[in-house]
Amino acid sequence: MRTTVIISTAILIFVEIAVASVIIISSARSNGREVAQPQEALAAVADSIGQAILPDKSNAEAKPESSGEDGGIIIPGFASLTFRANTLQQRVKFSNPAQNKCYFVLKIILPDGKEIYRSNKIAPNEAIEQIQLNTILPTGTHEDTILQYSCYDMDTLDIMSGASVKFTLEVR
């Protein structure tokens, strides 16, 4: 009799714990408290290092008409970029589209000719999301700042056609 009572009580407790677990998990999800996605976790890791090079997912899904299959080089451009004042670490989104068949080396050059950043080689389908500047920038607006794309052959490392993207750099 005693053994039966103990066994039945143990089964009841086990069932109770299982039901409570299901309720708690479903409750958390309905309140939007999902577990962090792998991409978010990757970005969090990227935050902790000076220059993060990550696979560029957006470029992998680019349309065929923007492809560089004919040997063309796709140069991504933009009109403005915002940096934080008084810090070397900056968030950006510089990428080498997947269709390219060359390395990019990027430089940021202020209108007075001062180079404030130079990247390592960026392979196709890679992106930089965090950079470290050479110098701290004060608050202000820098019209005609240049992001210079130097393109290198992936086999010979010979220099190829290049481009400079002019943009407005806002530091605030």
Binding site: M1, R2, V5, S8, T9, L12, I13, E16, V19, A20, I23, I24, S27, A62, K63, E65, S66, G68, D70, G71, G72, I73, I74, I75, P76, G77, F78, A79, S80, P97, K101, C102, D144, C151, I159, M160, S161, G162, A163, S164, V165, K166, F167
Partner: protein
């Protein structure tokens, strides 16, 4: 005693089952709309290389051109990185003294009407509007080399493009 203990445990377990969270049936929902406008962006596609033995020109196209009203993407040739003299450029061989002359002109990609030289319009070689992959002005650079009396070998130069967004054009 055993029965009493068993009954107590059973009652405690039973009450435990009723301790699940209970939500209000008539809760109201409120929203905060968060927006962020992505700034103007584009992709310009430039040729990586060109052999004048098999082709006569460079075509410049674009993709994903997203601009505000009135703005355009301007692609110009960087004159400072080009040996340019009037409507001609130099292609160099083994040294700076070893070169051949090459006619250069720019043309509209649609009707191929061309302009000698590239200096007109401040070295503009392509102009793109929002949503277009083909330029609305120029977009094609024609090259014609003159190799008379030149020594055998390969002659080359590289083009550097300057790309910007402007509402002035």
């Amino acid at each position: 005693m055993e029965r009493f203990l068993g009954a107590i445990l059973a009652i405690m377990s039973l009450f435990g089952c009723f301790c699940n969270p209970v939500y209000a049936a008539n809760e109201t929902e409120a929203y905060t709309t968060v927006t962020y406008t992505v700034d103007q962006s584009y992709n310009v596609i430039i040729p990586s290389s060109l052999s004048l033995n098999t082709s006569t020109g460079i075509e410049i196209t674009a993709s994903d051109v997203m601009l505000r009203d009135g703005y355009r993407v301007l692609v110009t040739l960087d004159k400072s990185q080009l040996s340019y003299d009037g409507d001609r450029i130099k292609l160099f061989g083994k040294s700076e003294l070893d070169y051949i002359i090459c006619d250069i002109e720019k043309a509209n990609i649609n009707n191929k009407t061309s302009t000698f030289g590239i200096a007109e319009d401040s070295f503009l070689v392509a102009l793109f509007e929002s949503g277009n992959t083909q330029p609305v002005k120029y977009g094609y650079i024609k090259l014609r080399p003159y190799a008379d009396n030149a020594s055998t070998g390969t002659y080359s130069t590289s083009f550097h493009y300057v790309i910007s967004v402007s509402n002035i054009w």
